[in-house]
Amino acid sequence: MVSLNFYLVLSAILFAIGTIGVLTRRNAIVIFMCVELMLNAVNLTFIAFSKYLGNLDGQIFVFFVMTVAAAEAAVGLALMIAYFKNRESIDVEDMNLMKW
């Protein structure tokens, strides 16, 4: 059996890669994909814990995280389309109408 720590380290690496992506990319859709990557890293943590603790609560949590991800995707992409219609761009460095 693979040790729990392997899974935890893998999910930490994925979470960190996702975080770096969110903070360094400019395209709003790519940023959203990086957020999805972070959520998946968390899901892996939950399922690994669930297996090693022998209770299913963690997997139920993952179920809800997936629902939330779907809901956020629908609303987020609608927001991006609305923004794109007016701005012709979804680059976050262009989002500078309001500063200080």
Binding site: L39, G76, R87
Partner: protein, 484 residues
Amino acid sequence: MDTIAIPAINLAVIAPEVVLSVVAMALLLINVFVKSEQKGYLGYLSIAGILGTLLMLIPAWGSSVEGFSGTIIQDNFAIFFKVIFLISAAMSILITDKYLEREGCNQGEIYPLILFATVGMMLMASGTDLMTIFLGLEVLSVSLYVLAGFNRNNIKSNEAGLKYFLLGAFSTGFLLYGMALTYGATGTTKIAKIASYIAMNGVSSSNLMLVAGMILMSTGFAFKVAAAPFHMWTPDVYEGAPTPMTAFMSVGPKAAGFAAFARVLLVALPALKPEWSSLLWVLAVLTMTVGNITALYQQNIKRMLAYSSIAHAGYILVGFTAGNAVGTAGILFYMLSYAFMNIGAFAIIILVGKKGEENSNVSDYAGFGYRHPVLGIAFCIFLFSLAGIPPAAGFIGKFYLFSGAIQAGYIWLAVIGVLNSAASVYYYLRVMVFMYFKEPTEDFEWVKLTPAFVLCLLIAVIGVLVPGVLPGLFLELAQKAVLM
């Protein structure tokens, strides 16, 4: 095949949430049949729904009922917060109608969305399982992303919605990671069981997984309540969002964030108090100072109030850091009075603004106090309360927050809080100086008062002055609602 034994379901616990959701769904259906000039009536229907929900909450006061196998509870703490959410939602709805007409985006869907957001907040306040809290938070956030970007022909509103969405989703990631680590360290997601596991096994700061979980959850909540250094989204979102929604966002969701935060820290993780109180100490000082100092430089009044709301989150964190009964009662009292004063101030801003909101600079308020004496006085009352000058309710609230900190031995924190509060008087007074001592630069458009606005302002003035003059009753209620 064996049947599943469904555990006892206590529907009475979620009755207020159910009623409000049903009203919201009914409004979605009614909306289809209502002509666009009459969408305002939907607002009155939703207020009727909110009043009905309030009436259901009042008899429940004093009892503490659990339900749904320990995923939700209705206690005084939850009820107190639910009343704050409902009042702020109702007041925001009162000022929404005319604004939408003026901006030309009169869509009836806004009312169900506000109600759904309120349901999300109520679930956050009464959730006793990390899953309930998380899902309540998401119901709230998803509705708020839409509400912030609701005026979809206005590019600023688009930008506000998109920014809020990206940063909100990002912070959700941290919150979830924290919840995952807490689950790993304690083997459960139920708040009561987390606490009893920690108490039984004596794990506390020695278990880093638990500490890391606490820190990551705090980060997630700090994003949601706009505490520095996680406040960057606040000014942009508050400025860009439709003003009634800014009013709504600056009160309800902040209170909901604090309610869930308080339940997690005070009920689930009291064993980690030394760790989290020092973390919150830093957050409180940073939040107050950054909010107040940046607010000093703002020309746009919506942005100024955004930074001021960051500063107010800081004051509340002071009471939180203390973590004692006085501080927690202070949080409850302050949130209640903050709802009245902030929504009142935003109502005035809506009245003064025009289509496209050109009148949102501080200098546009020149001479306002003479042109509209009654509105001027009301605005002054709200600003005085925000600044924490007696006899307004803001003063009593701050007094309790800071005395809670002193009682818990955080003298320096209280001193920094008082200094910050004094600095904040400057930028609130600056608006009043413009209102009374500057000549108007341009022709003032006549402010059109509707009965709904008058009602909202009246409630706000009463809500600021009565708890300020007679704090006893409200404090007693707040003390009964404390989690300890």
